[in-house]
C-alpha cells in the first residue's frame, strides 16, 4: 500500500507544529525572556493563523527558482551593457540613494526578524518571522549584486556599507531601524511588520520599481519582481500580527496604538527621501509624491484603518499633518541636498524649466509660491558664478535626525521648532510627532548619535569639512557636487559620443 499524499494543511501542520517542547532544566520564562516585558498579553498562541502555510522545503524551491530567473536577467543586462540604455544618467543617483540608504535596511530587517523569530514563543509567528528573515537577507544580497554592475561605471556606490554607518543623512534610515531593533519583539513586529511593511511599503517600493521601469533600468525592475511575492507574504504577516495582538487581550490596544502612532510618524519622516527621489531624481517621472501619498496612504491606508476600527484602533496620530506635508516635503528635502551637495554621496542639480513646470502642475498650491522662487534665485546665482552652498552644519531633530527643515503646519515660511527639557538638557524636534516620540521614551532618544554634534565633538575624522568627507570615504569631486560637472556626466557623454560615431 503506497503512502497517501498529504493535503497542504496537514502537511503544514506536520512540518511546523509540535516540534518544540516545554523545557524542564530551565523555566520557559528564561528561555523566552523577551516576549513579556512590553506588556503585551497573549492568551493562546495557537490562535495564530498563517494564511500562506508555506513550509521550508517549498520555500527553498520557490526562492531558488526566482534566483535563477533574476541572475539570468542580470547576466544578460551586464553582457548587453544595460547601463547605457537608461533614460538619463541623473537617474543613477536614485540608485545611489537606494544602495546606501535602503539596502542596508533589508539587512537590518533580516537581523530583526531573526531575533523576533527566536524570541516569540508561538510557533506560527516564529516560522513566519524566520522566513521573512531569510527573505530580507536575500533582498539585501540581490540588491547588492544588481547594483554592483552600476558601480563599475558610476561613482558614489562603492563604499555603501561604510557610508550607511557614518554619513549624516544616512543616519536617518539607520537610526530608524536601530530604534526598531532595540525595541522588544512585539514593537519590532508593529514597527517593521505592520507600519513599514503593510501601511507604508507601497510608498517605498512602488516608486523605486516603477521609477526603474520608466527610466530603462531593467536590472532594478527585475530584483523588484523577484522580491514581490515575498513582499505580499510580509504584508500578510504585518496585518496578521496586529489583528492577533488586538484579538488576544483588550489591554493590548493602548500599547499597540502607541506603537502605530510612533512608527507611522517615523516611517513618514524616512519616506521623505523617497518623496524627493520621485519628484526630483527621476528624469522620467512616474507620479508626484503627493499623488502617491493620496493613493497609497490616504485611500489604501484609510480603508485599512476603517477595517481595524472594529478593534478600537484609530488611524495614526498626525496622519493629517503628514498628509498636509505631502505638499512640501519633497521640495524641502531636495533644497537641503542642493545646498549641502558638497557633503552628499550623490549628485544634485536644479530642476530644468520643463521639470519646474511639471512641479507647478503637480503642486498648484505650493510650488510656484514657495519653491520656484528659491530655484530661480539659485539659478541666477549659478549664472553669476556664485553657486549657493550652505557652509555651516544644520540643526538636527533629535528623533528623526533630519535637519530641522520642516515648516509649521499651515505656515510654509516658518520653520517648526519644538523643544523638550529632560534632566536639564534641551532637546530639539522638527515636529510634534517627533517630540511626542522623544517625550514617551526620553531615556532612549537622549542617546541619539547626531552626526552634527559628533563632528563638533571630534568623533568624525576632524574639524574641517574635507576631514569629515574623508572619514565618510566620500571622494571629493567624484561622489559629490552637482551632476553637471561630474565624472558620471563625462562618462555618459563619452558613451553617447561613441554611439553617434558608430551610427555616423
Amino acid at each position: 500500500m503506497s503512502a497517501r499524499k498529504l493535503g497542504l494543511k496537514q502537511r503544514y501542520a506536520l512540518m511546523t507544529r509540535g516540534l518544540d517542547w516545554e523545557t524542564t532544566y530551565q523555566p520557559m520564562e528564561e528561555v523566552y525572556p523577551y516576549d513579556r516585558f512590553e506588556g503585551i498579553k497573549i492568551r493562546d498562541w495557537s490562535e495564530w493563523e498563517d494564511p500562506f502555510r508555506l513550509t521550508m522545503d517549498s520555500y527553498w524551491k520557490f526562492q531558488a527558482e526566482k534566483e535563477r530567473k533574476l541572475y539570468a536577467v542580470l547576466d544578460s543586462f551586464a553582457q548587453s551593457n544595460g547601463q547605457t540604455g537608461i533614460s538619463d544618467p541623473r537617474y543613477i543617483n536614485a540608485i545611489k540613494l537606494f544602495i546606501t540608504g535602503v539596502s542596508p535596511l533589508e539587512y537590518q530587517a533580516h537581523r530583526g526578524f531573526a531575533f523576533t523569530g527566536r524570541h516569540l514563543r508561538g510557533v506560527g509567528p516564529r516560522v513566519a518571522a524566520q522566513m521573512q528573515s531569510l527573505d530580507e537577507l536575500r533582498h539585501a544580497q540581490t540588491q547588492i549584486h544588481t547594483i554592483s554592475h552600476y558601480n563599475k561605471f558610476f561613482n558614489g556606490m562603492a563604499e555603501w556599507p561604510h557610508m550607511h554607518d557614518r554619513v549624516w543623512y544616512l543616519s536617518v534610515p539607520k537610526s530608524f531601524f536601530d530604534d526598531a531593533r532595540t525595541a522588544g519583539p512585539f514593537e519590532f513586529m508593529i514597527a517593521i511588520g505592520f507600519a513599514f511593511e503593510y501601511v507604508l511599503t507601497n510608498l517605498l517600493f512602488v516608486p523605486f520599481m516603477s521609477g526603474a521601469a520608466y527610466n530603462g533600468d531593467l536590472a532594478t525592475v527585475t530584483f523588484g519582481f523577484s522580491a514581490q511575492s515575498d513582499e505580499s507574504r510580509h504584508m500578510t504577516l504585518g496585518i496578521e500580527v496586529i489583528k492577533f495582538l488586538l484579538e488576544q487581550h483588550p489591554d493590548n490596544l493602548p500599547i499597540v496604538q502607541k506603537w502605530v502612532d510612533k512608527w507611522f510618524w517615523r516611517g513618514h519622516r524616512v519616506l521623505g527621501l523617497v518623496a524627493m527621489m520621485m519628484d526630483y531624481m527621476l528624469p522620467k517621472k512616474v507620479m508626484s509624491w503627493k499623488e502617491a501619498w493620496e493613493i497609497y496612504f490616504t485611500e489604501a491606508g484609510g480603508a485599512l484603518f476603517q477595517d481595524l476600527a472594529r478593534y478600537g484602533l484609530r488611524p495614526p496620530k498626525y496622519a493629517d499633518v503628514a498628509t498636509a506635508e505631502a505638499e512640501h516635503i519633497s521640495h524641502q528635502n531636495w533644497c537641503t541636498f542642493y545646498q549641502y551637495t558638497h557633503a552628499a554621496a550623490f549628485h544634485t542639480w536644479l530642476p530644468t524649466a520643463q521639470e519646474m513646470d511639471w512641479l507647478s502642475e503637480k503642486y498648484p498650491n505650493t510650488f510656484d509660491k514657495y519653491y520656484r522662487p528659491r530655484y530661480e534665485m539659485w539659478a541666477q546665482m549659478e549664472k553669476d558664478g556664485h553657486r549657493f552652498y550652505n557652509m555651516a552644519l544644520p540643526q538636527l531633530c533629535t528623533t528623526c535626525q533630519i535637519p530641522m527643515v520642516y515648516t509649521e503646519p499651515g505656515d510654509p515660511t516658518t520653520i517648526a521648532f519644538r523643544q523638550s527639557m529632560y534632566k536639564n538638557e534641551r532637546y530639539h524636534f522638527c515636529s510634534d510627532g517627533c517630540k511626542d516620540i522623544f517625550d514617551a521614551e526620553p531615556e532612549k532618544f537622549a542617546q541619539s548619535w547626531l552626526p552634527v554634534h559628533q563632528i563638533f565633538q571630534g568623533n568624525c575624522g576632524g574639524a574641517t569639512v574635507p576631514d569629515v568627507l574623508d572619514w565618510y570615504k566620500l571622494k571629493v569631486g567624484e561622489d559629490n557636487l552637482d551632476f553637471g560637472q561630474s565624472p558620471d556626466r563625462k562618462t555618459w557623454d563619452e558613451w553617447q559620443a561613441s554611439k553617434s560615431r558608430l551610427a555616423g
Partner: protein
Amino acid sequence: MSVIAIRPDYEAHTEVRDRLGNFHGNQVVYVHWEKHLSFCAAIAFPLPPDMPFGAFIDNVIKPHYAPHPQAEAIDWAAVTWQIDGADATPDLGKSLAENGVGHKSIVRFWTPGLDGYHGSAS
C-alpha cells in the same frame, strides 16, 4: 511616561551623547535667519560660552549668511531677536552666557523689510 525596557536599570547603562562636557569647553548654539529658507534649517556652531554676542554676530552669523543676496542689506540695529522662544535684546558687549544663550540654545532673528527673495521667504 518613560521607556519600557527589559532591565529596570536601563538608564544607568545609557550615555547622553550631547552633554555639554563632550564639546571640549564649547557649547552648541543654533542660529536661524527667519524668512530666508534658502538656508534650509537653523545652523549649528560649537562656541565658547564667553564669546561676546557682538563677536557672535560679526564672526559667526554674518559670514555664514553672506552668500544670500539680501545679507548685505541687513540693518543690524533694526534686527529683532528671540532666544529659546523669548523676545530678547542682546547686549553685544556681554557674553553669550550672560545673554542667556546656553548649551543647545536656539537664537532666531528677524530682519524687518527683508523677507527673502522677492518676498518668498527663500
